[in-house]
Amino acid sequence: MKHQIQVTINGETQQLTVDSHRTLLELLRDELKLFGARESCGMSVCGACTALVDGQPVSSCTYLAVRANGRSITTVEGLGTASEPHPVQRAFLEHGGFQCSYCTPGMILTTTCLLDEIPNPTLDQIKEYMVGNLCRCGAYPEILESIQAAAASARGEIVEPRPSTGSG
């Protein structure tokens, strides 16, 4: 069965027709060509497909597209641009918070929500909040550093990008 839905995607309101069984991830990737959301586990465990629905992180791989009717969706493409990255994107860039980056859009989107809810998170709060985003490369230390830098920068503190130093 097909449904007419109205969805605001990265600030732009669109009328779309979707099948009942179509997931938000399929809508984003197959219809809208927003490739920042990625399928990996297919069951809401890994966070690679994270999108924000009305500002809350969801696993788009199991979120039915029809549920997005009347809602606002944000993907990594809606956060910032190459010339003006979102502060969280800038923190991940400057602190090397990625390796292969398959998980990175999900990490960054979830971080924006974390910092909205807890502007000054402790390390344990960050770990608890981010537990649904997995990184198989094990870039967790740099991701944690990036999140802490983003939080500090949101508080107006100046955080030095990681220094460009030699190995001695």
Binding site: F35, G36, A37, R38, E39, S40, C41, G42, M43, V45, C46, A48, T75, V76, E77, L79, G80, T81, A82, P85, Q89, R90, F92, L93, E94, G96, G97, F98, Q99, C100, S101, Y102, C103, T104, P105, I108, I126, K127, E128, M130, V131, N133, L134, C135, R136, C137, G138, A139, Y140, P141, E142, L144, R162, P163, S164, T165, G166, S167
Partner: protein
């Protein structure tokens, strides 16, 4: 001392902005006009004869454009069998299925739903055969034969030597045996003051790279085959597709964008054959992307059982070691024989032992194929020998660190294979890791230490452990690179090395810029595209920095030499007097009269035109191996090594484990990018905690029972150790680019035994011999240690 400007600095990844904005190219982002989607029907039984497959209903389904079975492949003018060691795996099973998940039919349809529906309409009759699920059952005299013939693939130089060229009937499920004989093991064990005999095992685990396998294939009307694939081995895939379709290599194009992780899972042929066949049969481009569940059924890390018998003298010297290693390679050999061979080399550990005997067997079972995983088998053998080292040290009353230091290989020693050791920073790595967790000689203490956090009567106990390892990098091996200098003096580096997250684009850019003398921002790396990028063996085995780094260095030096001819005319100086840096070229004696790379090109071609091309070829050679003794004067061009030290806290009531500190030191030779090196070492350490603590593929009668990320857990933020410390050790490699070594794997080798040794230290010596180190096993160890510990 060379004055370096770009090599040795922490420059950001060249593709960083694409990564944080989500714009990075992956194969699954790709769409071609008219593209179909392919899916695979997989065997529900572990071993059986395919009696009949009826695809007629599937073919009639609207939207289906092609349906293929193994039987169809026999009617085509192709060689349907591939495999890097033995040609034992067809694109779709022919005649027999050998594991639950073995692909038996493929469908291409207008979308994935239609393809999936078509799979349900295929009727398959399979007559089940007896099956075997562990190596010992598979080696029994009456075990069913899984592969009836052994047909060597004859593709890789090392495997041609080992496997020969003849197609022979299989006589058992052991498809390969590696033998090493050095000294007299029997006499050594007889004369030893004490002999230790233990068996250690680890289960099959998953790579778990977040990007699943994905391939797009397209046939041009001219007959050329184009393949875009998430593969770590584009050059190999091109050669194998050319063989399969009886075409010249020049008419097969394999393109690789970025990979969302690899860790060995995306090596050799995976989806490329079946996707190309579906594209051929349908006359349309086809994409095949695996689901996570299918990943579990496609490739695994080998489960291994290792039995070590070790003789030591009371002065602390190891004098003999016998290693019997059984590798469960699953239903198809994949690269199992090479894993068995390469990790066979070093399965006696990184120690000078005068008498060594190694028998390492690669054995078929009716389970998903096992292949390469980061470390190429070293994790499994290291688990065994580094666990046993601590058992011995405790029994003999020695400090585990001192015991290791006394026996470690050093430069100038002769390895068990007969090959000299050189450029090995192993001793430094072991000491650095131990220092980082505050190792003291009191580690041989007999009783567990109560946790200072709980005080008297605490249920928490702490311990420290150390483990180390070394590996022989694959040799012989070939890497080639082409470097174009464009009309404005900017540079393209053409390389078939795959950037799967390790950062090779950045590091190769640094090497090119440093060597040629241009700015980093002037360099662009062209990703693998076999139409333009030259041959590279594989992106695996920690070989890219050493091999491709050298190839790029040579290509840059070649281009510089050509440009210096023109620059010398401009500057009125000899070519040997010139210096290039940051895009400028000047004579040493007259630094104020510099020219630029762009100006040199303009002068050379008299216009904004032209290309100057440098080429680099780096090839390593091995000495012939005696197949009966494994002896060779040169088994490898590069020894790599690492060490891990861990401090843990064990809850003796629940078996819960907390890693307080984990420090991994890796000898990187020379850090091209120190930040990237530390990130690789820390990443390997954290990835290694998964198989150490909880990862395990569970099967029941050949059926995988935890094939999802809900049931098979990989490390998350909540599994992080309290402190993770990556340590760079720099013992330059005599042949490395700027002294650099390969580092991708060394950080993961010793994670599990370091943690297990720390647990044993906390529990008064109680030893877990089979991975993973789950709370249940830790609790059993607590009881073994005498109750509350």
């Amino acid at each position: 001392m060379i004055d370096l400007h770009i090599v040795g600095t922490d420059v950001h990844r060249v593709e960083a902005l694409d990564k944080v904005t989500g714009r990075l190219e992956f194969v699954d982002n790709m769409e071609l006009p008219g593209m179909l989607h392919g899916m695979l029907l997989r065997s529900p039984v572990p071993h059986g004869r395919i009696a009949n497959i009826d695809t007629s209903r599937a073919k009639r389904l609207r939207g289906v454009r092609a349906v293929l079975t193994g039987q169809d492949l026999l009617g085509m003018n192709i060689d349907p069998f591939t495999g890097p060691a033995f040609k034992d795996q067809a694109a779709l099973a022919i005649g027999k299925v050998r594991y639950v998940g073995d692909p038996i039919a493929a469908v291409a349809a207008v979308d994935r739903e239609t393809a999936e529906e078509a799979l349900d309409l295929i009727d398959v009759e399979i007559e089940e055969l007896p099956a075997v699920f562990d190596v010992h059952a598979a080696m029994a005299p009456d075990a069913p034969l899984i592969s009836e013939r052994l047909i060597p693939a004859k593709t890789f130089a090392d495997l041609i030597e080992l496997l020969g060229g003849d197609d022979v009937p299989a006589t058992s499920n052991a498809c390969f045996q590696y033998k090493l004989r050095r000294g007299d093991v029997e006499a050594g064990l007889r004369n030893a003051d004490k002999v230790f005999h233990h068996t250690f095992s680890n289960p099959a685990t998953q790579h778990g790279d977040l990007e699943t396998h994905c391939t797009v294939a397209q046939w041009l009307n001219s007959g050329k085959l184009q393949v875009w694939s998430a593969t770590q081995s584009p050059s190999y895939v091109r050669i194998m597709l050319a063989n399969m379709f009886h075409m010249p290599e020049s008419r097969v194009r394999v393109v690789v964008p970025y990979l969302g992780g690899g860790f060995g899972s995306k090596l050799y042929m995976k989806l490329e054959p079946v996707t190309s066949l579906l594209a051929q049969a349908s006359g349309r481009p086809v994409k095949v992307r695996l689901t996570r569940k299918e990943e579990f059924l496609t490739i695994t890390k080998h489960g291994v059982t290792a039995t070590l018998t070790t003789g030591v003298n009371s002065d602390g010297q190891i004098i003999a070691r016998d290693c019997q290693i059984m590798w469960d390679t699953g239903a198809y050999a994949d690269i199992g024989p090479r894993v068995t061979h390469k990790s066979g080399y070093t399965s006696a550990g990184p120690y000078t032992i005068p008498n060594v005997r190694i028998d390492s067997f690669s054995v078929y079972t009716n389970k998903p194929p096992a292949g390469a995983f980061r470390g190429f088998g070293i994790m499994q053998v290291c688990w065994a020998y580094e666990s046993q080292m601590d058992v011995i040290a405790r029994d003999m009353g020695w400090d585990p660190l001192e015991f290791r230091l006394k026996n470690l290989y050093h430069d100038g020693d002769i390895h068990a294979t007969g090959t000299p050791i050189y450029s090995l920073g192993l001793d430094e790595s072991v000491r650095a890791a131990a220092d980082a967790i505050g190792w003291t000689a009191s580690q041989a203490r007999p009783s567990p230490q109560p946790s200072p956090t709980r005080g008297e009567g605490a249920k928490l106990v702490r311990g420290k452990g150390i483990a180390c390892s070394m590996k022989a990098m694959i040799t012989p091996s070939v890497a080639a690179s082409t470097l174009h200098v464009h009309s404005d003096g900017s540079v393209s580096v053409l390389s078939s090395a795959v950037d799967m997250g390790q950062g090779s684009d950045t590091e190769l850019s640094q090497i090119a810029a440093e060597t040629l003398g241009v700015r980093l921002e002037d360099v662009s790396v062209v990703h693998p595209d076999t139409d333009v990028t030259p041959y590279d063996l594989i992106t695996a085995g920690s070989r890219t920095t050493f091999h491709m780094g050298n190839a790029v260095r040579l290509a840059a030096a070649d281009a510089q030499q050509q440009l210096f001819v023109t620059a010398a005319e401009i500057l009125d100086a000899g070519t040997d007097e010139l210096v290039a840096r940051d895009g400028k070229i000047w004579a040493k004696a007259a630094p104020d009269r510099a020219t630029t790379f762009g100006q040199v090109m303009l002068t050379r071609f008299e216009a904004r035109a032209g290309t100057v091309t440098g080429t680099g070829l780096f090839q390593t050679y091995h000495g012939p191996t005696d197949l009966q003794t494994g002896q060779s004067d040169n088994v490898t061009a590069h020894w790599l090594c690492g060490a891990t030290a861990a401090e843990v806290e064990v809850d003796t009531e629940t078996g819960q484990l907390k890693i307080l500190n984990i420090a991994t030191a890796v000898d990187v030779g020379k850090a091209i990018n120190p930040f990237a090196c530390r990130q690789q070492i820390a990443g390997a350490t954290l990835q290694g905690t998964g198989p150490a603590l909880f990862e395990e593929m569970l099967q029941d009668a050949g059926q995988l029972i935890n094939g999802s990320f809900a049931d098979y857990k990989i490390p998350s933020f909540l599994d992080l150790p309290d402190n993770t410390e990556p340590i760079i050790v720099e013992a330059p490699h005599r042949d490395g680019p700027y002294g650099a070594k390969g580092i991708g794997e060394a950080g993961i080798f010793a994670i599990a035994p370091a943690i297990a040794n720390a647990i044993a230290d906390a529990l008064g010596g109680a030893r877990i011999r089979d991975l993973p180190l789950t709370p249940e096993k830790i609790l059993r160890a607590v009881r073994e240690a005498g109750g509350s510990a």
